[in-house]
């Protein structure tokens, strides 16, 4: 449906699991309010009806992993006034960026019967490595409240209110008992950006770092603490090598931990 003057929204997928797009569908009640304010011109996860660009707002999920991706992202950028990346894949390369630390040709030979049909890049990279990005929404997956806040901010021509502080802030606000202090469970909360509502500590688990580094991440001090809690250097390296392995602070922390492993 088109209403004259309504902003056009496109939702685009690159290498990803679709979880972040599903967060938009999961908005249920609010989804009607969204469609009242914007025309959803292209959202293949939700509808096969597609309208051509240009778009006022493009939400981009997923990382760049193929030569074709490189062409598509350039095209989408050219067609979009505002480009927002959603999720760890689009923002930091995602879990698939672990390939960046390994030999992709070897994977191709081992996994596929006909490796010659597979056209892939050696790396998984975030969208901002290829085109300018107006706003990056973190998370694996993103948080629905933050997504609505970002959409509402761009529709209202204001800066989104998305805090860049640590997960601990929300953990304490919710009255959770700190898992690191009260049972020595390793937790990435102190170096991770808030956004999930301190979900894992609320279930007595340490934070896995889904939202990437907070704005002032002191990973060396946390790594030292994780070591004191009994983690071997290789385990410390692994906690940083997940969904946001390519985020600079986590990448450096993993590298630093790895070095200790081979003196």
């Amino acid at each position: 449906m088109t209403v004259a003057g309504q902003p056009k929204l496109g939702v685009f997928k690159f290498a990803s699991c679709d979880g972040c797009q599903l967060t938009l569908l999961d908005c249920e009640d609010e989804l009607l309010a969204v469609t009242d304010r914007v025309e959803i011109a292209d959202f293949r996860e939700a509808s096969s009806a597609v309208r051509a660009g240009p778009y006022d707002v493009a939400l981009v999920e997923g990382s760049v992993t193929t030569p074709h991706d490189l062409e598509r992202i350039a095209e989408i950028r050219a067609q979009s006034r505002v480009l927002i990346t959603i999720g760890a894949c689009a923002t930091a390369g995602g879990i698939q960026a672990l390939r960046n630390f390994a030999d992709v040709d070897e994977f191709r030979r081992v996994v596929y019967a006909h490796p010659e049909y597979i056209r892939t890049l050696a790396t998984s990279t975030p969208i901002k490595d290829h085109v300018p990005v107006d706003f990056e929404l973190r998370g694996c997956p993103i948080d629905k409240g933050q997504l609505l806040e970002v959409l509402s901010a761009f529709l209202g021509n204001r800066t989104p209110n998305v805090p860049t502080e640590s997960v601990c802030v929300e953990c304490k606000r919710r009255g959770h008992v700190c898992v690191m202090v009260a049972h020595g469970t390793p937790c990435l909360g102190p170096v991770t950006q808030t956004g999930c509502g301190a979900l894992c500590p609320g279930f007595h688990r340490g934070c896995y770092g889904c939202f990437g580094p907070q704005d002032t991440p002191n990973t060396p001090a946390l790594s030292e603490r994780l070591t004191l809690l009994g983690m071997a250097p290789d385990q410390v390296r692994r906690v940083y090598r997940t969904f946001n392995a390519m985020a600079p602070a986590f990448r450096a922390a993993a590298d630093a931990a790895g070095k200790e492993a081979t003196p």
Partner: protein, 386 residues
Amino acid sequence: MTESAQVGGRYVLDRADFPAFLDGMRAAGYRVVGPTVRDRAIVYGEVRAVTDLPIGWTDRQEAGQYRLERRSDEALFGYNVGPHSWKKYLFPAHERLWTATTTDGSFEVRPEPDDATPLAFLGVRACELAAIRVQDRVFGLAGDPTYARRRRSVLRVAVECGQAGRTCFCVSMGTGPAVHDEVDLALTEVLEGDRHYFLLHVGSDRGARVLTDVPLRPASPVEEGAAADRVASAAASMGRSLTTTGIRDVLVNQPDHPRWAIVARRCLACTNCTMACPTCFCQSTEEVPDLSGEKVERWRRWDSCFNSQFSAVHGTSVRQSTQSRYRQWLTHKFGTWHDQFGESGCVGCGRCITWCPVGIDVTEEAAALREPARPTVPSASKGTTP
């Protein structure tokens, strides 16, 4: 035998009659909140029955470490302060202040309804009474109406500590473990052989009123002495100490002391110390509009001087480094708080030490800042023991 309790009186409440005491508070219209075991810690929550209290539990605390442990007895209050403080009730972590809606080109602002049941705080320690007094002054000077509204109806039932935790230093800060602050009721728990009772001091009419149907008898000098001994032994076993003489000047006059850089290398800028601190009052208010653009809510939430965005002016933080944030926290808490509010911002509860994930200890930092500044900064940070 029940006799009507007098303000200023000192009585004995037997452990067996504790349920009647809880009933008394409820009958007077209070919702009782107090210590309860949850998620391997003693936190504050709803107390419906005496079995909700941490019977027979205690805690072992160190810098960056807290462990819940069994006691050898069945004490109700045999622990020291945990991760929560009473500020979560008086100054909630998330709070909607008002809602505005547009109607025909104009708008209407609706404040939050005031319908909360009065709270009875059961088990307020001496340091926590002091912390409430500190926040009373802060929010009072600010003329904060929501704090005042909540605070006015609270019944404060103090419990004097019979033991000190490894991170406690209330003696240094002059706030405990004996209760000297104004209070509605104060209890001291005594376990002696097969006797288990509470020495009960009545501090106000409000306190006396909840005791109408509670079996009490006047305390004997021996019972008073037994209770005083407990508190004295807590005072003698403080886990930490801090020299307060001239502390304001030590902090305020040394912005370039090399210790700030050393502690900043360990500090995670995670905010746990400030969130756990019972006197920290920093907050942010934000407007939350809905997608229609027709409704907006104003929320207030706990914030912290350890967040870069907290000191953002025109979008840029004026305290970019963790070093400047740590210095702000310690200097304000122990130094400029005196200038601002005429007292210390620290009551010596030890929460910031225990709940710091890397175990940074304010007493250790304050002591190091008293040392003359050495010319060079050591090359690597070394964490304290876990």
